[in-house]
């Protein structure tokens, strides 16, 4: 008859190893260089929220990862045998307490993540306070260029996305050929550009500098070249720049407009 393992000493050992590995992983998560985690260029509050979310979620998931890995590796080590085993191992029957614990802890963790998401991720797309001087920018994706129209400035148009620092922006996005994805990684912002529809996304850049727009939807031959410069400048510099840009049609699509299936956010008129 196969001897039942001594669970108490094994569990103690696993818990100790798990605690140690968890601490090491959590410390590594906190001190890992930001550029390795893709969080080095945070230039908007929403990017800060997303970066914080990444760090917190990673910290919370490290003990779970450590538990699974330590338990699995310890079991492999402890249950090792030479040659092919002739018998199956003893059956495992978890006690009620263990089941309640893992279901309860898992539920608690998931609920915390859900609450966090509701607060921080919802905040990223929230409308700015009434009376905010929102800058509207129409974005058109076309193989393999982006172009930008500023309807509040006589439909000034540019191949460069220049914006004033600390001013809320509402992007209205579309494509005239295939699906593209409009993204400024430094703003943790990405929204599909869909032919025949408008999509919307908000951001308030809070750090001056040079960044870039990238397409994140594989869109054809020169997809890898579908980028555009982003310049976050002072309000005065922006005013000076936008007044020198050539003007074009009210909307980038030859003035014809496109169907609006999804509709704008509730605080934006069509």
């Amino acid at each position: 008859m196969m001897r039942r393992p001594r669970w108490s000493s094994d569990i103690k050992r696993v818990v100790l190893i798990w605690a140690g590995v968890s601490v090491i992983l959590i410390v590594a998560t906190v001190i890992i260089p930001p550029n390795l985690a893709g969080l080095s260029r945070i230039a908007a509050p929403r990017a800060g929220d997303y970066a914080l979310t990444m760090v917190v979620f990673t910290i919370l998931s490290m003990p779970v990862l450590a538990l699974v890995m330590v338990f699995a590796l310890y079991s492999l080590y402890k249950g090792r045998t030479r040659g092919r085993p002739l018998r199956d191992g003893p059956p495992l029957r978890a006690g009620k307490g263990v089941q309640i614990a893992w279901v309860g802890i898992s539920t608690l963790l998931v609920t915390c993540l859900y609450a966090w998401g509701l607060i921080f991720l919802n905040r990223a797309d929230a409308a700015p306070a009434p009376g905010s001087n929102v800058l509207n920018i129409d974005v058109t994706g076309e193989q393999w260029n982006w172009n930008f129209t500023y309807p509040q400035y006589g439909n000034a148009q540019s191949d460069i996305l220049e914006v004033p620092v600390n001013r809320p922006i509402l992007f209205k996005i579309t494509s005239i050929d295939v699906d593209h994805s409009f993204s400024v990684p430094a703003w943790a912002m990405k929204e599909d550009a869909v032919p025949g529809d408008f999509t919307y996304i908000r951001v308030t850049p809070n750090k001056m500098g040079n960044y870039s727009v990238r397409c994140f939807e594989l869109c054809g031959l020169f997809h890898s070249y579908m980028e555009a410069p982003v310049r976050v400048v002072t309000p005065a510099s922006f005013q000076s720049w936008v007044s020198t840009q050539p003007t074009g049609y009210p909307w980038g699509i030859g003035g014809a407009g496109v169907p609006n299936t999804y509709g704008p956010p509730s605080d934006v008129s069509k």
Partner: protein
């Protein structure tokens, strides 16, 4: 021991296949010989005296290789590398010529002349009806200075851009090409082509070395709102623009 030998052989064969595929794809990507800009004197610019270099391109409603008499009359040769089977030209595709790979020297004034033999309809994106990035945001069309073309008069565009980088200057040039009137285009009086192309000339400055691409932004191809076929294939309505 044999297992290890087999494993090493498999890895080497795999690496060889990947390398061969990469080399083949790289050759396909640049299958057209480049056109090097011809230097003709210098130009005084705000950046000082710089070389003035020239390129010449043509735009056709279909391949000149399908109009051998016209090619003979005009002593025209479309540069295609026929030794690579998959690059067999699509004779019915709209195309730039004689090549779509362009090379210009760094820190120079570039003047490009495009002879456009094609008609057109209406731009889908009005952004491209303005001339951008050239000297004074202007071009000449048959000798007349213009800064834009009405959206319904555009045949193609010649649009250069790169990627934002601290290793090369940003370059964006957009020139809409005035279309040939429909009646003249459809008559095809010169062996299938209009007798006189619209001649578009424009100049722009280039900075330091860099790699850029260019393409037509008028949807003149097939499928996907006209953005497929020649718009999505090397050697037709797009190409490379290298500053060396």
């Amino acid at each position: 021991m044999n297992r290890y030998v087999v494993a090493i052989v498999v890895i080497l064969v795999g690496a060889g296949l990947v390398t061969a595929t990469g080399v083949a794809l790289n050759q396909l990507a640049d299958y057209q010989p480049p056109q090097h800009a011809q230097a003709k004197g210098t130009a005084s610019t705000p950046n000082g005296v710089v070389p003035h270099v020239f390129l010449h391109l043509d735009t056709f409603p279909d391949s000149p290789d399908g109009h051998p008499q016209w090619e003979k009359e005009h002593n025209y040769h479309l540069d295609r590398n026929a030794s690579i089977p998959v690059t067999t030209p699509h004779l019915d595709w709209v195309t730039y010529g004689p090549t779509t790979n362009l090379v210009v020297p760094a820190h120079s004034l570039v003047t490009i002349t495009i002879d456009n033999y094609d008609g057109g309809e209406t731009l889908l994106n009005g952004f491209y009806h303005n001339v951008r990035g050239t000297i004074n945001n202007q071009m000449t069309v048959n000798g007349k200075t213009e800064s834009s073309i009405p959206s319904d008069q555009v045949s193609h565009t010649f649009t250069i851009h790169g990627i934002p980088s601290n290793k090369q200057p940003w370059l964006f040039v957009n020139v809409p090409l005035q279309k040939i009137p429909d009646k003249i285009e459809s008559a095809g009086a010169d062996f299938g082509y209009p007798p006189h192309p619209n001649v578009i000339t424009f100049s722009f400055m280039v900075g330091g070395p860099g790699h850029y691409v260019w393409q037509c932004e008028y949807p003149c191809g097939t499928t996907y709102n006209g953005f497929g076929g020649p718009m999505m294939t090397h050697g037709y309505m797009n190409g490379n623009f290298d500053v060396v």
